[in-house]
Amino acid sequence: MKRIFKYPIIFAVVFSLVSCERDEPANGEGVSMSDLYEDFSFTENLAFSSKSADFSLEETISVSAKFSKPVDWKITIQGVESGAQKEITGFSNELNAENTTWNGSTTKFPIFRAEKCIYRLDIVDEILQTDTFLVDTVEATGTKTNEGVLIEDFEDEIKVAKWPGFVQSGADMTFVRSNAQTAAQGEYYYDMGGAVDFDFLIGQINFPSSVLGTPTFGLSENAEEVYLNMMVYNPPGVINGFYVIQFQENEDGKTAFDKFAEDGYQYEIDETDLTSGWQLISIRMSDIVMGETFGNAKVEPNKINFFTILFLADPASGYSQGFIDYIIFTEGGPLEP
């Protein structure tokens, strides 16, 4: 019977020893009060790694600074000539090369040119509801080079003229290279517009690889990693148009496309899905859904030797217009302009 008493005592001792472990952080549990309620200040002033960079040489600009507490911050870099904008945001108590590096890329189009830029740092303390900002200038002496197969940026008039196309005989037709407005990249873009009251098709521009002097566009066979990127401009208030991009693959090795033996497929972009102004459309080739086709029914970018961009609108909807610029295939990810 004495064993009955032994067990609880032994258990209690063991239990006490096992249970007595605790972390007692010196600065308390949970989020730090100082991170929340200390007044914001710079503990280390803002410093630039460089005030200018030639982004074509993969140079970068970053800043460093330290704050008294973690805060929401936003860096806005705006091109003085182009109006291009780059935004970098974060929540931290430190700015450094890891979280502020600018490689010449763009958040809001057009793309940066070689130009002077306004560099603004905004710091918002949500809890104490204070705003702080600093403004300086930096200079892009060269623009960022994007890796990929550039099809057309509409800067070279002679090259643009080589692309065949078709324009309906409608009213106010404008299938032309233009610089009437700011281009997404460089000086020129392609203006597609008009009013056609008898057909959906307003016009198209074709991109056969033969114009580049190559049998295909030299892309990877893996559709998962190939993207077609294109800058599109939606004029304010004009949303009745839509783009259809049709691709053709050369699967039989012959020059002419045989739609009853080779794969052809298309991707549609509706203007109602776009916002006003320039924006980047990146299409992963593997996302294209094939309709009826007579090839191997597989998207194989390495076999694409022709694609065309058609601009269409409902004939009853009146005048329609859209601009395109900087058509480029990239691999491994969408374009980061």
């Binding site: 009955i4 008493f5 609880p8 600065n27 308390g28 949970g30 989020v31 730090s32 991170d35 929340l36």
Partner: protein
């Protein structure tokens, strides 16, 4: 050893006993109630409130009808239906029928008692317990008139147990030497059902083994675990929150003195399996008390030393009754801004919708003005310190006084190295005036209480400083003017001035934000009325009350609600 064992049948329910002696097999029992509130709202100062209806009448009549069925001597079935007609309902409109309660209980092989269906269960203060109402230690008699209704409706009236749906068993062994009894109990209950997509069934299971020595005390081993049942939905993560404790109550009783050691210690773990973001949390607590009674003067003194870790999480013990994140039903929005009306001491007495009926895994919202030292009961995490109780009761039942002094602090700071301290004093006195007059056969009772609590954190950094002072006062007078007929009067006030920070936690109970709170509140509730007791189970009360809520913050509108309440309660 075999000779020592005598397996006994434990306490069978009184209803079964009655049924056996009378031979009754099916009988009805239940309760009936009529409640009417006639509220009158006024804005205290400033621009007249043109948006809030000044008068609001509400109430209901209801009958709980239970069928008690005893198909055999070892089985008992109870099914209770509630028929309720809200004020304004007529000819069937507004009438609701609900199944209020359904359980089956009995005895297996004259040894193991079981209950399935609706069960009420509690273990120990650190494993599974339904804590007392907020400010229960301050607000006395009048609270009972109203809170009895709430307690009955949401099953808070079973000795601090939680009403759950599940199954429970218990049995005991009795010895004739060294140890008097060894009792075992266990239960499993469902906390929330699966939605078959992303919420698993959540269960709670636990039990207790209690060794009762008899003359010198008892030891208890308590275990409870709240856990998800993986496979009941597509969610592969699984919460497990086991809590294991050892409780003891040792006593030595000799001549004029009785002394004792009582307490509980143990640990908890909070684990979320298959969630890479989930931290593994564990912590321990101890609660060690020493107490004594000097019998000639009926004086009782006790002191408790406690230390409850900041990461000790026990859903069964830390789920609060009042959920401060809810809003009152009556005058839920008020004033010209139609602001949400915060819960006041008036609502705590009347509004059952403010109270939790299920256990929660996170630490629920509370109002520091209504008690900041131990908002989650004894098991409030991140507390250490000493609590001293002193009480004295007159042997002729003429008075009873009690004094509690708590001196607690945090174990680790809340977002800072500096610790908060919590000091409170609670004094309660009851005087049965009639007992001073020999031969006077009607009751006159005067009771009062005072509570003061201060929360303080000093720091060299101004934003870390905390200073919150709470005070409450309660005075009640019950005068029996005719046999079983009482006139009642009561006044209670609560003031809270200062500042605090309210911790906001994520789903792992980690603190992610400290929201500043500034209190400058004064609440006053005056009540008067009459109660007539037809019998112990049947009372009629009519009470008039005036409640004032004043805020120093000009953005929060002050108001008054006066109310006439008519309450009839009967059990049969």
């Amino acid at each position: 050893m075999k000779k020592l064992l005598l397996i006994t049948l434990w306490v069978a329910s009184a209803t079964i006993t009655i049924a056996q002696t009378t031979g009754k097999r099916i009988w009805l029992s239940g309760a009936a109630r009529n409640v009417l509130f006639f509220d009158d709202y006024t804005k205290n100062a400033g621009t007249a409130d043109t948006l809030t209806a000044p008068k609001l009448n509400s109430g209901h009549t209801m009958v709980d009808l239970a069928a008690n069925i005893q198909p055999n001597s070892n089985t008992f079935i109870n099914g209770m239906v509630r028929i309720r007609n809200d004020y304004g309902g007529f000819w069937g409109g507004g009438v609701t029928f609900d199944m209020r309660q359904l359980y089956l209980k009995g005895i297996i092989a004259n040894t193991v008692r079981y209950q399935i269906g609706d069960i009420n269960y509690k273990l120990s203060p650190y494993t599974l317990i339904n804590p007392n109402h907020d400010l229960d230690h301050v607000f006395l008699d009048y609270s009972d008139v109203f809170t009895d209704i709430i307690d009955y409706d949401i099953f808070y009236n079973f000795n601090n147990s939680w009403r759950q749906q599940g199954a429970a068993v218990d049995f005991g062994l009795q010895f004739n030497k060294y140890v008097k009894e060894l009792n075992f109990s266990g239960f499993v209950s469902r906390q929330n059902p699966t939605n078959f997509t992303n919420i698993n069934d959540r269960l709670m299971a636990g039990g207790n083994a209690t060794l009762i020595q008899g003359e010198f005390g008892q030891l208890g081993l308590n275990y409870v675990n709240m856990f998800d049942l993986v496979g009941t939905s597509d969610d592969s993560t699984q919460l497990q929150n086991p809590v294991l404790t050892l409780s003891y109550d040792l006593m030595y009783d000799k001549d004029d003195y009785k002394v004792g050691l009582m307490g509980e210690f143990g640990n908890s773990q909070t684990i979320v399996n298959n969630d890479p973001l989930a931290p593994a949390i564990s912590d321990y607590f101890f609660d060690a008390g020493i107490g004594g009674i000097y019998k000639p003067y009926n004086i009782e003194l006790s002191a408790t030393l406690k230390n409850v870790g900041p990461q000790f999480f026990s859903p069964g013990a830390q789920t609060r009754r009042l959920d401060y994140s809810r809003n009152p039903l009556a005058y839920g929005r008020y004033g010209n801004n139609q602001s949400l009306r915060p819960i006041g001491i008036f609502d705590m007495l009347r509004d059952a919708s403010l109270y939790n009926t299920t256990l929660t895994t996170g630490l629920g919202a509370f109002n520091p003005s209504y008690g900041n030292a131990q908002p989650y009961g004894d098991a409030t995490p991140n507390r250490k310190g000493v609590i001293i109780n002193l009480s004295q009761k007159d042997e002729e039942n003429r008075w009873e006084v009690a004094l509690t002094n708590g001196m607690l602090s945090e174990i680790v700071g809340s977002g800072t190295a500096e610790l908060k301290s919590f000091n409170y004093l609670n004094a309660v006195a009851t005087i049965n005036i009639d007992e001073f007059f020999e031969g006077y056969d009607k009751g006159i009772k005067l009771s009062g209480s005072f509570w003061n609590e201060s929360t303080e954190r000093t720091s060299a950094l101004a934003y870390e400083e905390i200073n919150l002072d709470n005070q409450a006062f309660d005075l009640n007078l019950d005068v029996e003017v005719i046999k079983k007929g009482y006139l009642l009067a009561g006044l209670r006030t609560l003031t809270s001035v200062g500042n605090e920070f309210l911790a906001e936690r994520n789903r792992f109970n980690e603190i992610i934000f400290y929201a500043p709170m500034v209190a400058d509140v004064e609440e006053t509730l005056f009540m008067t009325g009459a109660r007539y007791e037809f019998s112990e189970k049947s009372t009629l009360s009519i009470l008039w009350s005036s409640y004032d809520s004043k805020f120093a913050d000009p953005l929060i509108e002050n108001y008054n609600i006066s109310s006439l309440a008519l309450l009839f309660n009967m059990k049969f």
